[in-house]
Symmetry: C2
Subunit: 161 residues, 2 copies
């Protein structure tokens, strides 16, 4: 099994796959009589073939390292954002497309306070919290259509620090 070393999540490293959603740097606007910073419109929401945006919550079991990556999936019809509802990092696994299957996966560990948005049709691992509540707000496409492709690896990857 091929080993993948976890990288810290950064805007630059993650850019081919989506956006890092975080309140970093200066806010775009100061609102509420100076009491609140707004980091404005940080995700590329991209939905096709009808459907609409929705807010769901996911509660996922915690995983442990080393993590065995057996499967990746993608959503052809819509972007998908994950915003942790506790101050915990989580594991974010993505891969470029390589002819209709995942290419070389990469693994990122988010910092507390960071969420992510996967671009539409980006190969990714399932939700993989490593600590905390496993509770996430998810903003994705609601609607009919075949919005899930899975790829199971013959030779799984091992992801670790």
């Amino acid at each position: 099994m091929t080993r993948i070393t976890i990288e810290p999540l950064s805007e630059a490293g993650f850019a081919p796959f989506g956006e890092v959603l975080e309140a970093a740097g200066d806010p775009d606007k100061i609102i509420n009589q100076g009491m609140c910073g707004r980091f404005h419109d940080r995700a590329t929401l991209d939905f096709t073939q009808g459907g609409r945006v929705g807010i769901s919550l996911f509660r996922a079991e915690l995983r442990a390292l080393p993590y065995r990556l057996e499967m990746m999936e993608r959503h052809p019809l819509g972007s998908q954002a994950f915003l942790p509802m506790s101050m915990d990092g989580f594991l974010v696994i993505v891969a470029p497309d390589a002819g209709g299957r995942p290419g070389q996966p990469r693994a990122f560990r988010s910092a507390p306070g960071q969420g992510i948005n996967f671009h539409r049709n980006t190969w990714h691992g399932v939700l993989t919290p490593l600590s905390g509540e496993g509770l996430f707000a998810v903003i994705d496409r609601i609607g009919e259509g075949d919005n899930l492709q899975e790829h199971w690896f013959e030779d799984p990857y091992i992801i670790d620090t």
Copy 2:
């Protein structure tokens, strides 16, 4: 000044104003090989006069009780959801409309893990975290148009336990 006693946030109590967004009860779907529960499509997203949905982050200063409510606002063009990114409750202040101004306000304190979605054009107080990080994911309308109405009270309210 009139005193308002804080109520616990519940789906039934909050229903006239919006939705409580929480992973309570049984999930609507089990996904990821049994490792994740999906609480599906829990918010009424409602945007008018063009515009589109977006994901922003807010970082708000913590407030303390008793809280002096001097102003309420509403957004005529869109719903607005707040999902805390730390496991902390926050203060949610809402009011029915009374002829173009807020009627009697009500104050709810959310439990950790609860977010809310304000229905379009619902009178509410500004974001009022009482503990934790003051960090929220916000799903609201992005676009042109006059989407903010404020009402300042001549006689502020005092909100407390």
